[in-house]
Symmetry: C2
Subunit: 199 residues, 2 copies
Amino acid sequence: MIKFPHSIQLLIEQFSKLPGIGPKTAERLVFSFLKWPKADKQQFAKALADINGNITFCSKCFNISEKDPCLICSDKTRDSKLLCITAESHDLAAIESTNEFKGYYHVLGGILDPLHGMTPDKLKTNELLAKVQENKLSEIILAFNPDMEGEATMIYLNDILKPFKIKITRLARGMPVGADLEYTDEITLSNAFKNRREI
Amino acid sequence: MIKFPHSIQLLIEQFSKLPGIGPKTAERLVFSFLKWPKADKQQFAKALADINGNITFCSKCFNISEKDPCLICSDKTRDSKLLCITAESHDLAAIESTNEFKGYYHVLGGILDPLHGMTPDKLKTNELLAKVQENKLSEIILAFNPDMEGEATMIYLNDILKPFKIKITRLARGMPVGADLEYTDEITLSNAFKNRREI
Protein backbone atom coordinates (compact mmCIF):
# COMPACT_ATOMS: atom_id res chain seq x y z
CA MET A 1 0.00 0.00 0.00
CA ILE A 2 1.37 3.38 -1.04
CA LYS A 3 -0.11 6.17 1.06
CA PHE A 4 1.86 9.32 0.28
CA PRO A 5 5.37 10.00 -1.02
CA HIS A 6 7.89 9.99 1.81
CA SER A 7 8.55 13.74 1.86
CA ILE A 8 4.83 14.51 2.03
CA GLN A 9 4.38 12.01 4.85
CA LEU A 10 7.23 13.72 6.72
CA LEU A 11 5.68 17.16 6.32
CA ILE A 12 2.26 15.89 7.44
CA GLU A 13 3.91 14.53 10.59
CA GLN A 14 5.53 17.89 11.26
CA PHE A 15 2.26 19.79 10.85
CA SER A 16 0.39 17.38 13.12
CA LYS A 17 2.81 18.20 15.94
CA LEU A 18 1.28 21.70 16.11
CA PRO A 19 -1.46 22.26 18.70
CA GLY A 20 -4.99 21.54 17.50
CA ILE A 21 -3.79 20.00 14.23
CA GLY A 22 -4.63 16.30 13.89
CA PRO A 23 -3.28 14.03 11.14
CA LYS A 24 -6.32 14.65 8.90
CA THR A 25 -6.06 18.44 9.20
CA ALA A 26 -2.31 18.23 8.64
CA GLU A 27 -3.00 16.28 5.45
CA ARG A 28 -5.38 18.99 4.28
CA LEU A 29 -2.88 21.75 5.08
CA VAL A 30 -0.04 19.98 3.26
CA PHE A 31 -2.13 19.31 0.15
CA SER A 32 -3.28 22.90 0.10
CA PHE A 33 0.33 24.04 0.53
CA LEU A 34 1.42 21.86 -2.41
CA LYS A 35 -0.91 23.85 -4.66
CA TRP A 36 0.72 27.17 -3.81
CA PRO A 37 2.84 28.82 -6.48
CA LYS A 38 6.47 27.77 -6.22
CA ALA A 39 7.68 31.20 -5.07
CA ASP A 40 5.13 31.22 -2.22
CA LYS A 41 6.21 27.76 -1.10
CA GLN A 42 9.82 28.87 -1.02
CA GLN A 43 8.84 31.97 0.96
CA PHE A 44 7.14 29.80 3.61
CA ALA A 45 10.15 27.48 3.80
CA LYS A 46 12.45 30.50 4.14
CA ALA A 47 10.32 32.12 6.87
CA LEU A 48 10.40 28.87 8.82
CA ALA A 49 14.14 28.39 8.37
CA ASP A 50 14.89 32.02 9.24
CA ILE A 51 13.06 31.86 12.52
CA ASN A 52 15.56 29.30 13.79
CA GLY A 53 18.48 31.61 13.29
CA ASN A 54 16.84 34.95 13.98
CA ILE A 55 14.78 34.46 17.11
CA THR A 56 16.28 34.53 20.56
CA PHE A 57 15.05 35.49 24.01
CA CYS A 58 15.78 38.87 25.52
CA SER A 59 18.05 38.30 28.50
CA LYS A 60 16.33 41.12 30.41
CA CYS A 61 12.58 40.54 30.02
CA PHE A 62 12.65 37.02 28.45
CA ASN A 63 10.43 38.15 25.62
CA ILE A 64 11.08 36.55 22.23
CA SER A 65 13.08 38.94 20.12
CA GLU A 66 15.43 39.29 17.19
CA LYS A 67 17.84 41.32 19.31
CA ASP A 68 19.16 41.01 22.84
CA PRO A 69 18.19 43.18 24.68
CA CYS A 70 14.85 43.42 22.89
CA LEU A 71 13.42 46.60 21.37
CA ILE A 72 11.31 47.27 24.49
CA CYS A 73 14.15 46.77 27.00
CA SER A 74 16.51 48.96 24.95
CA ASP A 75 13.92 51.75 24.70
CA LYS A 76 15.17 54.30 27.25
CA THR A 77 12.04 56.49 26.99
CA ARG A 78 9.93 53.97 28.88
CA ASP A 79 9.05 54.34 32.54
CA SER A 80 11.52 52.23 34.52
CA LYS A 81 9.33 52.40 37.63
CA LEU A 82 6.61 50.24 36.10
CA LEU A 83 6.98 46.50 35.63
CA CYS A 84 4.33 44.33 34.00
CA ILE A 85 4.60 40.55 34.51
CA THR A 86 3.03 38.29 31.87
CA ALA A 87 2.98 34.53 31.41
CA GLU A 88 4.00 34.41 27.72
CA SER A 89 5.35 36.62 24.95
CA HIS A 90 1.99 36.73 23.20
CA ASP A 91 0.39 38.18 26.33
CA LEU A 92 3.03 40.91 26.22
CA ALA A 93 2.22 41.50 22.56
CA ALA A 94 -1.49 41.79 23.39
CA ILE A 95 -0.78 44.43 26.05
CA GLU A 96 1.62 46.31 23.76
CA SER A 97 -1.07 46.46 21.10
CA THR A 98 -3.34 48.46 23.47
CA ASN A 99 -0.71 51.25 23.73
CA GLU A 100 -1.76 51.65 27.37
CA PHE A 101 1.44 50.63 29.10
CA LYS A 102 4.76 52.47 28.86
CA GLY A 103 6.84 50.57 31.41
CA TYR A 104 8.97 47.44 31.09
CA TYR A 105 7.98 43.80 31.06
CA HIS A 106 8.97 40.50 32.59
CA VAL A 107 7.84 37.34 30.79
CA LEU A 108 7.57 34.51 33.30
CA GLY A 109 7.63 31.78 30.66
CA GLY A 110 4.47 30.04 31.83
CA ILE A 111 2.04 29.78 34.70
CA LEU A 112 2.00 27.71 37.85
CA ASP A 113 0.44 24.33 37.11
CA PRO A 114 2.02 21.74 39.42
CA LEU A 115 -0.10 18.91 37.97
CA HIS A 116 1.60 19.45 34.62
CA GLY A 117 5.04 19.94 36.14
CA MET A 118 5.01 23.75 36.08
CA THR A 119 6.48 24.51 39.51
CA PRO A 120 7.95 27.93 40.51
CA ASP A 121 11.51 26.80 39.67
CA LYS A 122 10.47 26.27 36.00
CA LEU A 123 9.44 29.94 35.76
CA LYS A 124 11.68 33.02 35.67
CA THR A 125 10.90 33.85 39.32
CA ASN A 126 14.50 34.19 40.55
CA GLU A 127 15.24 36.58 37.70
CA LEU A 128 12.08 38.48 38.66
CA LEU A 129 13.14 38.80 42.30
CA ALA A 130 16.60 40.01 41.24
CA LYS A 131 15.01 42.58 38.94
CA VAL A 132 12.65 43.84 41.65
CA GLN A 133 15.57 44.12 44.08
CA GLU A 134 17.80 46.04 41.64
CA ASN A 135 15.25 48.53 40.30
CA LYS A 136 13.30 51.17 42.14
CA LEU A 137 9.80 50.16 41.13
CA SER A 138 6.64 52.05 41.99
CA GLU A 139 4.18 49.47 40.68
CA ILE A 140 4.13 45.84 39.59
CA ILE A 141 1.24 44.82 37.33
CA LEU A 142 0.29 41.15 37.23
CA ALA A 143 -1.22 40.60 33.77
CA PHE A 144 -2.39 36.97 33.80
CA ASN A 145 -5.49 35.26 32.47
CA PRO A 146 -8.32 35.32 35.02
CA ASP A 147 -8.54 31.51 35.08
CA MET A 148 -7.59 29.02 37.79
CA GLU A 149 -3.89 28.70 36.93
CA GLY A 150 -3.57 32.43 36.28
CA GLU A 151 -5.15 33.26 39.64
CA ALA A 152 -2.89 30.75 41.40
CA THR A 153 0.17 32.30 39.75
CA MET A 154 -0.92 35.79 40.80
CA ILE A 155 -1.45 34.65 44.39
CA TYR A 156 2.01 33.07 44.40
CA LEU A 157 3.68 36.16 42.90
CA ASN A 158 1.85 38.44 45.31
CA ASP A 159 3.23 36.33 48.18
CA ILE A 160 6.85 36.47 47.06
CA LEU A 161 6.69 40.14 46.04
CA LYS A 162 4.91 41.42 49.15
CA PRO A 163 8.17 41.82 51.23
CA PHE A 164 9.37 44.50 48.77
CA LYS A 165 6.47 46.77 49.75
CA ILE A 166 5.72 47.82 46.18
CA LYS A 167 2.19 48.48 44.94
CA ILE A 168 1.01 45.30 43.20
CA THR A 169 -1.98 45.51 40.84
CA ARG A 170 -3.84 43.14 38.56
CA LEU A 171 -5.95 43.66 35.43
CA ALA A 172 -9.55 44.65 36.09
CA ARG A 173 -12.15 41.92 35.97
CA GLY A 174 -15.53 42.83 34.54
CA MET A 175 -17.70 42.53 31.51
CA PRO A 176 -15.93 42.59 28.13
CA VAL A 177 -17.07 45.00 25.42
CA GLY A 178 -20.18 43.71 23.64
CA ALA A 179 -21.14 41.34 26.47
CA ASP A 180 -24.73 40.60 27.37
CA LEU A 181 -25.78 40.95 31.03
CA GLU A 182 -28.18 38.05 30.68
CA TYR A 183 -25.52 35.63 29.48
CA THR A 184 -22.60 36.80 31.60
CA ASP A 185 -21.46 34.18 34.13
CA GLU A 186 -22.02 34.88 37.82
CA ILE A 187 -18.36 35.33 38.80
CA THR A 188 -17.74 37.89 36.05
CA LEU A 189 -20.96 39.72 36.86
CA SER A 190 -20.20 39.72 40.58
CA ASN A 191 -16.71 41.12 39.82
CA ALA A 192 -18.18 43.74 37.52
CA PHE A 193 -20.62 44.71 40.24
CA LYS A 194 -18.03 44.89 43.00
CA ASN A 195 -15.68 46.98 40.86
CA ARG A 196 -18.37 49.37 39.58
CA ARG A 197 -17.16 52.89 38.82
CA GLU A 198 -18.67 56.31 39.05
CA ILE A 199 -19.39 57.84 35.65
CA MET B 1 3.73 49.95 18.95
CA ILE B 2 5.83 46.80 18.71
CA LYS B 3 3.71 43.77 17.95
CA PHE B 4 6.06 40.89 17.08
CA PRO B 5 9.60 40.70 15.75
CA HIS B 6 9.64 40.88 11.96
CA SER B 7 10.54 37.23 11.34
CA ILE B 8 7.72 36.02 13.59
CA GLN B 9 5.26 38.33 11.86
CA LEU B 10 6.37 36.88 8.52
CA LEU B 11 5.86 33.30 9.69
CA ILE B 12 2.43 34.12 11.13
CA GLU B 13 1.44 35.53 7.73
CA GLN B 14 2.61 32.35 6.02
CA PHE B 15 0.64 30.11 8.37
CA SER B 16 -2.52 32.18 7.99
CA LYS B 17 -2.46 31.52 4.23
CA LEU B 18 -3.29 27.86 4.96
CA PRO B 19 -6.98 26.88 4.78
CA GLY B 20 -8.92 27.23 8.03
CA ILE B 21 -6.06 29.03 9.77
CA GLY B 22 -6.89 32.61 10.74
CA PRO B 23 -4.36 35.16 12.05
CA LYS B 24 -5.06 34.28 15.70
CA THR B 25 -4.64 30.54 15.12
CA ALA B 26 -1.51 31.22 13.09
CA GLU B 27 -0.14 33.21 16.04
CA ARG B 28 -0.85 30.30 18.38
CA LEU B 29 0.81 27.82 16.00
CA VAL B 30 3.90 29.97 15.59
CA PHE B 31 4.30 30.53 19.34
CA SER B 32 3.90 26.84 19.99
CA PHE B 33 6.44 26.11 17.24
CA LEU B 34 8.92 28.54 18.85
CA LYS B 35 8.88 26.38 21.98
CA TRP B 36 9.94 23.23 20.13
CA PRO B 37 13.46 21.97 20.71
CA LYS B 38 15.88 23.43 18.18
CA ALA B 39 16.43 20.12 16.36
CA ASP B 40 12.67 19.67 15.88
CA LYS B 41 12.35 23.18 14.50
CA GLN B 42 15.11 22.50 12.00
CA GLN B 43 13.43 19.23 11.03
CA PHE B 44 10.19 21.06 10.22
CA ALA B 45 12.05 23.69 8.21
CA LYS B 46 13.88 20.97 6.33
CA ALA B 47 10.70 18.99 5.58
CA LEU B 48 9.12 22.13 4.18
CA ALA B 49 12.14 23.07 2.10
CA ASP B 50 12.56 19.51 0.80
CA ILE B 51 9.02 19.31 -0.48
CA ASN B 52 9.78 22.08 -2.95
CA GLY B 53 12.58 20.14 -4.57
CA ASN B 54 11.27 16.62 -4.17
CA ILE B 55 7.64 16.74 -5.16
CA THR B 56 6.51 16.67 -8.75
CA PHE B 57 3.45 15.43 -10.59
CA CYS B 58 3.39 12.08 -12.34
CA SER B 59 3.08 12.80 -16.06
CA LYS B 60 0.88 9.72 -16.51
CA CYS B 61 -1.74 9.87 -13.75
CA PHE B 62 -1.08 13.45 -12.44
CA ASN B 63 -0.76 12.18 -8.89
CA ILE B 64 1.77 13.99 -6.70
CA SER B 65 4.92 11.93 -6.51
CA GLU B 66 8.64 11.99 -5.85
CA LYS B 67 9.28 10.17 -9.12
CA ASP B 68 7.92 10.48 -12.62
CA PRO B 69 6.25 8.13 -13.47
CA CYS B 70 4.96 7.58 -9.95
CA LEU B 71 5.23 4.32 -8.02
CA ILE B 72 1.71 3.29 -9.02
CA CYS B 73 2.14 4.01 -12.74
CA SER B 74 5.47 2.20 -12.83
CA ASP B 75 4.03 -0.88 -11.06
CA LYS B 76 3.61 -3.38 -13.91
CA THR B 77 1.70 -5.91 -11.76
CA ARG B 78 -1.41 -3.73 -11.73
CA ASP B 79 -4.41 -4.35 -13.94
CA SER B 80 -4.11 -2.05 -16.95
CA LYS B 81 -7.76 -2.61 -17.87
CA LEU B 82 -9.04 -0.73 -14.85
CA LEU B 83 -8.89 3.06 -14.55
CA CYS B 84 -10.07 4.98 -11.51
CA ILE B 85 -10.64 8.74 -11.89
CA THR B 86 -10.35 10.92 -8.78
CA ALA B 87 -10.52 14.66 -8.22
CA GLU B 88 -7.36 15.06 -6.10
CA SER B 89 -4.28 13.14 -5.00
CA HIS B 90 -5.63 12.71 -1.49
CA ASP B 91 -8.71 10.95 -2.86
CA LEU B 92 -6.36 8.56 -4.64
CA ALA B 93 -4.49 8.03 -1.36
CA ALA B 94 -7.76 7.27 0.43
CA ILE B 95 -8.68 4.62 -2.15
CA GLU B 96 -5.15 3.15 -2.09
CA SER B 97 -5.41 2.78 1.69
CA THR B 98 -8.42 0.44 1.29
CA ASN B 99 -6.31 -2.04 -0.75
CA GLU B 100 -9.43 -2.71 -2.85
CA PHE B 101 -8.28 -1.41 -6.20
CA LYS B 102 -5.44 -2.83 -8.28
CA GLY B 103 -5.77 -0.82 -11.47
CA TYR B 104 -4.33 2.55 -12.49
CA TYR B 105 -5.49 6.06 -11.66
CA HIS B 106 -6.13 9.40 -13.31
CA VAL B 107 -6.16 12.47 -11.07
CA LEU B 108 -8.34 15.13 -12.66
CA GLY B 109 -6.88 17.98 -10.57
CA GLY B 110 -10.20 19.27 -9.30
CA ILE B 111 -13.93 19.11 -9.87
CA LEU B 112 -16.26 21.03 -12.12
CA ASP B 113 -17.34 24.22 -10.40
CA PRO B 114 -17.97 26.90 -13.06
CA LEU B 115 -18.94 29.50 -10.45
CA HIS B 116 -15.40 29.30 -9.06
CA GLY B 117 -13.78 29.17 -12.47
CA MET B 118 -13.31 25.39 -12.58
CA THR B 119 -14.37 24.67 -16.15
CA PRO B 120 -13.53 21.40 -18.04
CA ASP B 121 -10.44 22.97 -19.66
CA LYS B 122 -8.88 23.53 -16.19
CA LEU B 123 -9.07 19.79 -15.53
CA LYS B 124 -7.00 17.00 -17.05
CA THR B 125 -9.85 15.92 -19.33
CA ASN B 126 -7.92 15.97 -22.63
CA GLU B 127 -5.23 13.79 -21.07
CA LEU B 128 -7.99 11.50 -19.83
CA LEU B 129 -9.56 11.16 -23.28
CA ALA B 130 -6.15 10.40 -24.80
CA LYS B 131 -5.52 7.75 -22.14
CA VAL B 132 -8.92 6.12 -22.69
CA GLN B 133 -8.27 6.09 -26.44
CA GLU B 134 -4.82 4.54 -26.15
CA ASN B 135 -5.53 1.83 -23.59
CA LYS B 136 -7.89 -1.10 -23.80
CA LEU B 137 -9.97 -0.47 -20.71
CA SER B 138 -12.66 -2.76 -19.39
CA GLU B 139 -13.94 -0.43 -16.66
CA ILE B 140 -13.67 3.21 -15.65
CA ILE B 141 -14.49 3.99 -12.01
CA LEU B 142 -15.56 7.53 -11.15
CA ALA B 143 -14.49 8.06 -7.53
CA PHE B 144 -15.82 11.51 -6.62
CA ASN B 145 -17.46 12.89 -3.51
CA PRO B 146 -21.23 12.39 -3.59
CA ASP B 147 -21.88 16.14 -3.32
CA MET B 148 -23.23 18.60 -5.87
CA GLU B 149 -19.94 19.39 -7.62
CA GLY B 150 -18.85 15.75 -7.50
CA GLU B 151 -22.13 14.61 -9.04
CA ALA B 152 -21.88 17.28 -11.75
CA THR B 153 -18.33 16.17 -12.58
CA MET B 154 -19.44 12.54 -12.82
CA ILE B 155 -22.32 13.46 -15.13
CA TYR B 156 -19.91 15.43 -17.32
CA LEU B 157 -17.32 12.63 -17.42
CA ASN B 158 -20.00 10.04 -18.16
CA ASP B 159 -21.09 12.17 -21.13
CA ILE B 160 -17.64 12.51 -22.65
CA LEU B 161 -16.66 8.89 -21.94
CA LYS B 162 -19.88 7.27 -23.18
CA PRO B 163 -18.76 7.18 -26.88
CA PHE B 164 -15.93 4.77 -25.93
CA LYS B 165 -18.49 2.14 -24.90
CA ILE B 166 -16.59 1.14 -21.76
CA LYS B 167 -18.34 0.14 -18.53
CA ILE B 168 -18.44 3.24 -16.31
CA THR B 169 -19.11 2.78 -12.59
CA ARG B 170 -19.31 5.02 -9.54
CA LEU B 171 -18.75 4.38 -5.83
CA ALA B 172 -21.76 2.93 -4.00
CA ARG B 173 -23.96 5.33 -2.10
CA GLY B 174 -25.45 4.07 1.14
CA MET B 175 -25.14 4.23 4.89
CA PRO B 176 -21.60 4.56 6.28
CA VAL B 177 -20.38 2.13 8.95
CA GLY B 178 -21.70 3.12 12.39
CA ALA B 179 -24.55 5.22 10.99
CA ASP B 180 -27.92 5.50 12.67
CA LEU B 181 -31.05 4.87 10.57
CA GLU B 182 -32.95 7.47 12.54
CA TYR B 183 -30.46 10.24 11.82
CA THR B 184 -29.53 9.34 8.25
CA ASP B 185 -30.63 11.96 5.72
CA GLU B 186 -33.39 11.04 3.27
CA ILE B 187 -31.24 10.98 0.13
CA THR B 188 -28.67 8.64 1.68
CA LEU B 189 -31.39 6.40 3.08
CA SER B 190 -33.25 6.34 -0.22
CA ASN B 191 -29.99 5.40 -1.99
CA ALA B 192 -29.26 2.72 0.57
CA PHE B 193 -32.77 1.35 0.08
CA LYS B 194 -32.61 1.34 -3.71
CA ASN B 195 -29.19 -0.34 -3.71
CA ARG B 196 -30.08 -2.97 -1.08
CA ARG B 197 -28.25 -6.28 -1.47
CA GLU B 198 -29.15 -9.87 -0.78
CA ILE B 199 -27.26 -11.32 2.19
